[in-house]
Amino acid sequence: MANPRFSIGDEVTVRDETTLFHTRTQKFARGRTGVVVEHRPEWVIPEDEAFDRMETGRKEPFYVVRFKQTELWPGYTGQSIDTLESEFSERWLVPA
């Protein structure tokens, strides 16, 4: 993988951007902070893939980010140890 910007264990915040483009970054994750727990293979970002640019689309590293549920949902009713994991392309993440 070509030099991923983030390492496992890094704290990252998901960009809080609205977008008119096809994205797979959930609203509930935007602006939230979690920890990188795994790297994923580079892949064409969904913003380009949606326009059928699998050959020419921009490729980026992807990361699995683990959030504490209490970080995502202020009124979370489960246990404080509960977590949620999801994947993000590099452009959606900034250092926390």
């Binding site: 959930q26 892949w43 549920q69």
Partner: protein
């Protein structure tokens, strides 16, 4: 229907009848019109249908049973998911040579432990590991499951009859990108000395989604041998 739903009084709306239903007619009419308009071909449809008919949750059941029985295979399954699948006859590149449009080929198995219980959901659409689990159940595709599993997982699990201790972390995996996930439940007590085939029969679909736990008393038949694709 998995037998773990036994005892549920059911609210199905399908009467058993030999009459052709209006939805059978609608489905075929839409398909024929799409073919006539050149959106896809009858061959495209047949190829996908043949593939869809061939897959069910048995592949996943066999993977878990084999991993429970063979530590080396378990290691491979957890680190090289798609490669390990080939050992039970599942090729993630089928039926197109590149997978289906909505099942790309990064496959990861999530291991439950005494401290972590995994469960899968796709809030954006309904991504599902179809090569290993077959078609997703209706409830998996409903907004009620997709929206609530992320923010009220313990409540939703309780609706499925699964009550986890407070000190077990519930870890929800929202498959929002190209990865597909399957849960590997813990092997329950009372299965010592069981064959892989016997073990596979308690690894039901719901246990691999993460909304249930294997129960040695609840078995569903799994065809022996490799998965037919």
């Amino acid at each position: 229907m998995t037998s773990m739903h036994d005892g549920h009084d059911g609210h199905n709306t399908f009467p058993v009848s030999s009459k052709v239903s209006e939805f059978e007619i609608l489905e075929l009419a839409v398909r024929e019109l799409a073919i006539e308009k050149g959106i896809f071909s009858a061959e495209d449809h047949r190829r996908f249908a043949e593939w869809a008919d061939g897959v069910g949750p048995h592949g996943g059941s066999k993977l878990v049973a084999k991993a429970w029985s063979d530590p080396a295979f378990k290691e491979k399954l957890l680190t090289k998911g798609t490669e390990a699948c080939k050992e039970v006859g599942i090729d993630w590149l089928q039926p197109t040579g590149t997978g289906t449009p909505s099942d790309y080929t990064f496959f990861y198995v999530l291991e439950n432990t005494p401290k972590v219980h995994n469960v899968i959901v796709c809030t954006l659409c309904s991504c599902y590991p179809r090569p290993v689990l077959g078609m997703s159940p209706d409830w998996y595709r409903t907004p009620a499951y997709r929206r609530r599993m992320v923010n009220r997982p313990r409540e939703v699990l309780a609706e499925f009859g699964l009550h986890l201790p407070d000190d077990v972390e519930v870890r929800v995996h929202d498959s929002n990108q190209k990865s597909r996930f399957m849960v590997m439940p813990m092997r329950p007590d009372g299965t010592e000395g069981w064959s892989e085939q016997e073990l596979a029969e308690i690894v039901t679909r719901d246990t691999m989604i993460g909304v249930a736990l294997p129960d040695p008393k609840v078995r569903v038949p799994v065809p022996a041998g490799e998965v037919h694709q």
